[in-house]
């Protein structure tokens, strides 16, 4: 089923949780609402479920306005952040609840309920726990019970609030993959909320990046990751090195980075350059490419990538992410001076991080100017 959210606004007291949010989720899609704490993503999810009412705007299910429908009538499966399992009921009782509370005429028979519940418990691999109480289960198991319970009524939409938020890292990994597989099997339109970018990028078909009650960008995972529409999105989707400086007279002075750029602004304007750690390279000698000097402070070599921490001559902190082979080639040691060069540098001009020009530099020296003014709330979807 298709979900459309049209211009939804929600205020709690004087806090504006959602500010004119518009979003479309296609039938069978798995969409992630990604953003930091308090960005409004949970509120949006609850409004879609009918657990919260928007001050303004509509929610449409398959083109039909659902705003007037009570949460009870929306046929939405909702998985709560803390699962909200009925603690006095067994796993079986929890999963059967939705079927048992149906009006007598629509209620399936006992045998049917039993069959359906076991079907679902098989799906979530918890058959042998049918008689257990929630308190006796692990976090991951509770999560799966909550999911089975939400699926019992064959919902048209599945909504998950921080589905893996309360689990430890390893279980989270497993459940993530499992949810993706489950979705591929069932193809029910699903929306989940998360503050973990890795989770959103790994699981979702499309990612909706939110901040301060608005949508920053909507796109497929590679799209939002490689073409962030704003400084916020780039910052939020992974670690970055930030160089502060200014753009003036066709040149950008960004700390140690100095690059030509054809900016048509005659006056000096503040700017920031963002570079991902893996887009920085190190060399022990100058290789002719634009580069700056830095001193190696610390090396983390345990892991698939080698993380090198450096300080520039001005004292700024820089993190570089190297392939192990490259690291061995360089034979770095702490205290050594190295030359740092950058590949994909993104320059954001202006005071407001969210409303900035975007200037794109290729290989650091041949700048392609993307001088399009983009208000932060409009996404660049691919």
């Amino acid at each position: 089923m298709k979900i459309e959210v049209v211009d939804v606004t929600k205020t709690f007291g004087c806090h504006r949780a959602l500010d004119g949010v518009t979003l479309q989720v296609d039938d069978g899609e798995l969409v992630a609402l990604l953003g930091p704490s308090g960005c409004g993503k949970t509120t949006l999810l609850r409004i879609i479920a009918g657990l919260e009412t928007a001050d303004q705007g509509e929610v449409l299910f398959d083109g039909e306005n659902a705003s007037g429908r009570h949460a009870r009538e929306r046929r939405v499966g909702f998985v709560f952040q803390h699962y909200a399992l009925f603690r006095h009921m067994t796993v079986f009782g929890n999963v059967a609840f939705g079927l048992r509370v149906r009006p007598r005429r629509q209620r399936p028979g006992r045998a049917q309920i039993r069959q359906r519940v076991y079907e679902l418990l098989r799906l979530v691999q918890l058959e042998e726990f049918a008689g257990s109480y929630p308190a006796q289960l692990s976090g991951g198991q509770r999560q799966r019970v909550a999911l089975a319970r939400a699926l019992a009524l064959q919902p048209r939409v599945l909504l998950l609030d921080e589905p893996f938020g309360a689990l430890d890292a390893k279980v989270r990994q497993e459940l993530r993959r499992w949810l993706r597989r489950l979705h591929d099997e069932l193809h029910v339109t699903s929306v989940f909320v998360t503050h973990d970018q890795e989770e959103a990028l790994e699981v979702a078909d499309r990612v909706v990046v939110m901040n301060q009650g608005g949508i920053m960008q909507i796109g497929t995972p590679p799209d939002v990751f490689h073409n962030p529409a704003s400084e916020f999105v780039m910052n939020f989707l992974g670690s970055v090195n930030v160089f502060h400086g200014r753009v003036e007279g066709g040149r950008a002075f960004l700390g140690p980075l100095q690059v030509d750029c054809s900016s048509d602004h005659p006056l000096a304007r503040p700017a920031r350059a963002l570079v991902r750690p893996y887009n920085l390279d190190l060399d022990t000698r100058s290789n002719g490419r634009p580069c700056f000097l830095a001193t190696v402070r610390h090396i983390h070599a345990a892991g698939p990538r080698v993380k090198v921490e450096l300080t520039t001559e001005a004292g700024a902190f820089v993190e570089v992410d190297l392939a192990p082979e490259r690291y061995q080639e360089l034979n770095l040691s702490v205290g050594e001076s190295v030359f740092v060069s950058a590949r994909d540098v993104r320059v954001f001009v202006g005071d407001e991080p969210e409303r900035s020009h975007r200037l794109e530099f290729q290989d650091g020296d041949s700048p392609t100017v993307m001088d399009d003014l983009r208000p932060g709330t409009e996404g660049r979807s691919g």
Binding site: G50, E52, T53, Q56, E58, S67, G68, A71
Partner: protein, 290 residues
């Protein structure tokens, strides 16, 4: 649910601002019932007292209130309640400490018994205490031998007040004591504090709001107590007559005006105590471990 529908149809019309619709049912029903019940049983009856006061006028109120008998009753009630609440603050803290920190045979039984003053009808407590503290009673005899009268004296009033207000400090302090992390005490010890220092500087500040709340509740209860005191006090006007008894006497004389003027200050006092207790509880919550 019908309300929800109508709100929903409004939204289709467009821009009108909705009130937040409530997902869980029964808000109007339960709040309506709560307010109605509270109004009928508490607010309207209590406001009758204010109405009566309006009928009386200040002068009559003042003259009744400042009559020596009334003043003496107030002095006894307030002082007695203060002493009783103070006694219970000290012993209550001690009992709470022992019940929380030490293990000894019979602890659970004692812990259960602490609630007795809440469960025992006050009249029963009254006659039992009188039997104990009367000059012929088990303890009254001891005091009488050294020339101290317990029952039928202000001391008897205080004793009854101590009994009825005993559980408050204990019951409020217990959970707070339990919540104090042992590690905090151990931290104090590793920083070189003696046990006395640990108690006065680490534990006491943490439980003082609870003790004060218990004190205030015990005081409020003791000031208003009637049942247990009338038996042990002897009810001598001007000497062992407490305020609730004076009100009772006036009512029995069908002197509603007199009763009202005496009761008014007591009622105001209970409002003040209620406010104070609320503030103290907010203080406890703020200090509670997260």
């Amino acid at each position: 649910m019908k309300g929800d529908r109508s709100i929903a149809s409004e939204t289709k019309m467009g821009f009108c601002r909705r009130r937040n619709r409530r997902v869980l049912p029964g808000f109007r029903l339960t709040l309506g019932f709560t307010l109605l019940y509270l109004s009928l049983l508490v607010l309207i009856p209590l406001s009758t007292l204010v109405l009566w006061m309006g009928r009386l006028g200040w002068e009559e109120l003042w003259s009744t209130f400042t009559a020596p008998r009334t003043l003496a009753a107030y002095r006894l009630s307030l002082l007695g309640a203060l002493i009783a609440a103070g006694t219970n603050a000290v012993f209550g803290l001690l009992v709470a400490w022992v019940l929380v920190r030490y293990r000894f045979p019979g602890r659970r039984l004692l812990d259960t018994l602490v609630d007795l003053p809440f469960a025992l009808p006050t009249a029963v407590a009254g006659i039992a205490l009188t039997a104990i503290y009367a000059p012929t009673g088990v303890i009254g005899r001891l005091f009488a031998s050294v020339g101290i009268q317990t029952a039928y004296s202000p001391l008897g009033v205080v004793l009854a007040m101590v009994f009825v207000s005993l559980p408050f400090v204990i019951r409020i302090t217990q959970p707070v004591l339990q919540d104090i992390d042992r590690e905090v005490e151990e931290a104090a010890a590793t920083l070189g504090a003696t046990r006395l220092q640990t108690f006065t500087r680490v534990i006491l500040p943490a439980i003082i709001p609870a003790v004060l709340t218990g004190f205030a509740m015990a005081f409020a209860r003791a000031v208003g107590e009637y049942g247990s005191i009338v038996f042990i006090s002897g009810n001598m006007p001007g000497r062992t007559e407490i305020v609730p008894l004076l009100i009772m006497t006036r009512l029995e004389e069908f002197n509603y005006a007199g009763a009202t003027s005496v009761a008014l200050v007591l009622l105001l006092l209970s409002f003040v105590m209620l406010l104070l207790i609320n503030l103290l509880q907010a203080w406890i919550r703020r200090g509670a471990p997260v």
